[in-house]
């Protein structure tokens, strides 16, 4: 069973139990945050919840770790500029 989540302006397919980062990677998305000072792209780095590099805004809440948050039906994921606040 698959469903889709919203990533910025597009729909991304997701499977139950998949992480947000997993769904985004499977859809070919490699970056979903811009760094605070230089605006450089960031995505998955450690992949295990330690480095806080893969932060993303989920359902309006910034600084969520894409690598450990499981997808949920109807979830909206947005590229996060800077600190997200």
């Amino acid at each position: 069973m698959t469903y889709s989540i919203k990533f910025d302006d597009r729909n991304v397919p997701a499977a139950p139990g998949q992480t947000v980062a997993g769904a985004l990677w499977a859809a070919g998305v490699r970056s979903w945050r811009m760094t605070r000072d230089r605006g450089a792209p960031r995505g998955l780095f450690c992949g295990i919840g330690v480095c806080f590099d893969c932060l993303v805004t989920i359902d309006g809440v910034p600084n969520q770790r894409a690598c450990v948050i499981p997808v949920r039906p109807g979830m909206t994921v947005n590229t996060q500029p800077g600190a997200g606040h």
């Binding site: 000072d37 806080f52 600084n63 800077g82 600190a83």
Partner: protein, 375 residues
């Protein structure tokens, strides 16, 4: 052969190396871990006069803050993230405020700038502060540095030879030996080993009562960046922080010191517990820290903590550092036991040690800090 071997590449060791080298001595710095790998890398970089009661430590800190500003000119204030942001001590109750104002009066006599901030002006100074506080005191002299950067830049400026991953296993009149069998010869050994300074003293056959006092720091998600810093302007803490620092109680004590950093995160210290070198994290301690911080800044209730770290402050029985020659081991100098004030007190410690080695007049009277006082 160098003139001086410094044991410990933390902020105090780096400052000792810097001032000794500046006085013309050749210096080798040894550490069994990395640069700033102990207490120096596990704090917040608080350089405070606001938490010092009148007495010898206050005079020491005032001189050290003067030296910090001078050092910032040498290595560059941005390199070490020096922020002259000042401290804001707030009191929740009228009684607490009275007590804080009384302390401020005494501090002023010791040379501290302390400006009363009435309750209705607190918000102008610190906009996100909780409402309903009784008032506060603004301490413009309080500074912040990034302690790991400060340690590294001081070591670089000293041009000392630095060996990391080198464990000192014996200390004698002419130098030290390390676990890998090397001999570092020097007429002067400086014990800047922080919480492990008692072990280094024991290697030299002398005694120094330095023990660890555990503390935690919480780190929030970033709330700003270099152009738009986190929405906390000063070092903000509750007036009861001073009694926590001065306490001799071994049990957990918590009072939050809250501050933003250039990286955009907010740091929340500081708990104090005497539990030896106990590893692990105490969730109740972290909870209390967070609750105290939210009491000062209610918006933090909706801010995520991304990590926490732990450090051990080196403290002595009278809560004053040990700075100066060992009374029984010629050539051995102690520069340790600064508890939670090591980053602040590092420059003056280095300057005093260098003066003592060379027999020149020290910048402050070192008598209250004499290492022989525990004998």
């Amino acid at each position: 052969m160098t003139d001086v071997v410094v044991v410990g590449a933390g902020i105090v060791g780096a400052a000792c190396a810097y001032y000794a080298a500046r006085a013309g001595l050749t210096v080798t710095v040894l550490d069994r871990g990395p640069i700033a790998g102990g207490t120096s890398g596990a704090g917040e970089g608080n350089l405070l006069v606001s938490d010092k009661a009148p007495g010898p430590e206050l005079g020491l800190m005032l001189e050290s803050l003067r030296l910090w500003r001078e050092l910032a000119g040498v290595v560059g204030p941005d390199a070490i993230e020096l922020e002259p942001k000042g401290g804001l001590v707030v009191a929740a109750t009228a009684a607490g405020l009275d007590h804080a104002l009384q302390l401020a009066d005494e501090q002023r006599e010791g040379g501290v700038e302390a400006i009363e901030v009435p309750a209705h002006r607190l918000c102008a100074r610190e906009p996100r502060l909780a409402e309903g506080l009784a008032g506060g005191i603004w301490y413009p002299q309080d500074l912040q540095v990034q302690p790991m950067l400060a340690t590294a830049y001081l070591l670089r400026a000293s041009k000392a030879t630095v060996h990391c991953g080198v464990d000192v296993v014996s200390v004698d009149r002419g130098g030290v030996r390390t676990r890998d069998g090397r001999r570092f010869r020097a007429d002067v050994i400086v014990n800047a080993a922080g919480v492990w300074a008692g072990d280094v003293a024991a290697l030299a056959g002398t005694r120094l009562p330095v023990a660890p006092r555990r503390g935690y720091v919480l780190v929030t998600e970033p709330l700003g960046n270099r152009r738009a810093p986190a929405p906390i302007r000063h070092k903000v803490y509750a007036a009861d922080y001073m009694s926590t620092v001065a306490s001799d109680d071994a049990a957990l004590q918590v009072s939050a010191v809250v501050e933003g950093t250039r990286a955009g995160t907010v740091l929340i210290g500081a708990s104090r517990e005497r539990v030896g070198f106990a590893a692990g994290f105490s969730v109740p301690a972290l909870r209390r820290l967070a609750a105290e911080a939210i009491r000062l800044f209610p918006f933090l209730a909706d801010t995520a903590v991304i990590r926490a770290y732990r450090g051990f402050r080196p403290y002595t029985p009278d809560h004053l550092p040990a700075i100066g020659p060992d009374p029984t081991r010629p050539g051995l100098y102690h520069a340790c036991g600064h508890e939670g004030a090591g980053v602040g007190l590092a420059p003056v410690t280095g300057a005093v040690i260098a003066a003592q080695i060379l027999g020149t007049p020290p910048p402050v009277d070192p008598a209250p800090f004499a290492a022989g006082r525990f004998a």
